[in-house]
């Protein structure tokens, strides 16, 4: 790995996104629009004092889910394009290291996710009065960690897709189960044992739990840091696996 190459690769990916204004606009606007829908969906629902409102509960989790889903999709397609247009093969004949490329994607899309999370959080807190016991900064940090998790899984999964049609199919395979089982629809301790066991090995479960910790406690808790560490660990594992799928030689 070389810091210079990593930096220029990150810059290259950011440049590509900058030329695609519509993608940037969608990236920033869609989460806010969805939060708006969510806000009006639960507007009539006023829980007794002391219990967090439904919007506070779900809106908070959504702040972590959007970046994960969007970055997963964008990364899978971006990496697939590198493969199909031959740029990946070409890059691997240059001094660029595999990790320069993978971390380049992680950092570039992580930066995009930071902007996206900040905009979505600003809308949630200021427009829709989202209330969390803990700080907004922590919410954004977890959202970014989750986005980078999406990037890492996207880099890995794209190795198994030959076409765009295949690549988008990984979204239901990789993303949906994590959303269903992360504790958003049914609290984790109310699930059947085997579902809980599956939920235990899905990384998003930990990101959501971390967000719930921030929602319920004024100061960062040990459980929250442990959850964040688990997500970070999963990112590393996914990146190492993704590096293993990058082959300099092919048939």
């Amino acid at each position: 790995m070389s810091p210079r190459i990593l930096l220029s690769t990150t810059g290259r990916i950011v440049h590509q996104l900058r030329h695609d204004r519509r993608t940037l606009a969608l990236m920033l606007a869609v989460p806010v629009l969805l939060l708006t829908v969510l806000y009006f969906m639960f507007q009539g629902d006023t829980p007794p004092p002391g219990i967090p409102s439904t919007f506070d509960r779900i809106g908070l989790i959504m702040l972590g889910i959007f970046p994960f889903v969007i970055m997963f999709l964008i990364t899978s397609i971006a990496m697939l394009r590198e493969r199909t247009t031959g740029t990946l093969e070409r890059l691997l004949t240059t001094p660029l290291g595999k990790l320069d490329l993978l971390f380049g994607y992680g950092i570039a899309f992580g930066l995009m996710a930071a902007i996206q999370a900040a905009v979505a959080a600003a809308a949630a807190y200021w427009l829709f009065d989202l209330t969390t016991a803990g700080s907004t900064g922590l919410v954004i940090m977890i959202a970014i960690a989750n986005a980078v998790l999406g990037v890492a899984l996207g880099l890995f999964c794209s190795a198994f897709a030959r076409t765009e049609f295949q690549a988008v199919q990984f979204m239901p395979v990789v993303v949906f189960p994590q959303i269903l089982l992360c504790g958003l629809f049914v609290a984790r301790d109310a699930m059947a044992g085997w579902l809980q066991a599956i939920s235990d090995v899905l990384p998003m479960t930990y990101a959501v739990e971390a967000l719930q910790e921030v929602g319920a406690h004024r100061d960062p808790t040990g459980a929250m840091w442990r959850d964040v560490a688990v997500v970070a660990g999963c990112v590393l594992v996914a990146l190492v696996l993704a590096a293993a799928t990058l082959r300099r030689r092919s048939g």
Binding site: R4, I5, S8, T9, G11, R12, H15, Q16, H19, D20, T85, G86, T87, E89, R90, L91, L92, T93, T94, P95, L96, R248, R249, S250, G251
Partner: protein
Amino acid sequence: METAIEVRDLVVVRGKREVLHGISALIPRGSVTGLLGPSGSGKTTLMRAIVGVQIVKSGTVTVLGDPAGTARLRRRVGYLTQAPSVYADLTVRENARYFASLYGLGAVEADRAVVDVGLGDAARQLVGTLSEGQRSRASLACALVSNPDVLILDEPTVGQDPVLRDELWARFNALAAQGSTLLVSSHVMDEAGRCGQLLLIREGRLIAEDTPDGIRAAAGVQDLDEAFLRLIRAQDRTATTADGGR
């Protein structure tokens, strides 16, 4: 003359078929070597093996003294793929600057490479909006930018007009004069005359390895097009005789 690339008994299987059947060739340093042959004869496959991106079944490929694909060679070998491989959503200049940066080179070298392939005026244009021929030159600029010791160019002049082709070939020869080693594949025989050495490959076998003049002499005609046809027919005849004797 010093050897830059040595291919020995190279056998390559792609898919389920053997596509190179034991090729051996020497490519001298500081020269332009033309790689010619019909479509599907294995030109791209041979070039991929020399760059080190092709899985080979047996045989060896040595480039500048190291086995092909060695990490050290990645700074010294430039590769132009047959299909342009540049980022469509970046400008020509951004592409060149990115590939330059991988070799620790800056904007000056990148911009020069863009001008060298005749894209100075299109430098700020997105590659996705370029014409076919311009796009392949954008890809070429990214291969030339690092000024590598060995340049493997897979059909670099396809789709270019005669004036540009002439300029590009003049550039290739200038690079060779400065000590670079170039292997250039082509379908166009009139380009073969501009090479110092020619490799003629057919159905995965090398059927001639000589200077253009040597090939003309061997075939007994001046026109290289005609010379190749004769060599191919002569080879077909030997093959039929051999089969008949079996």
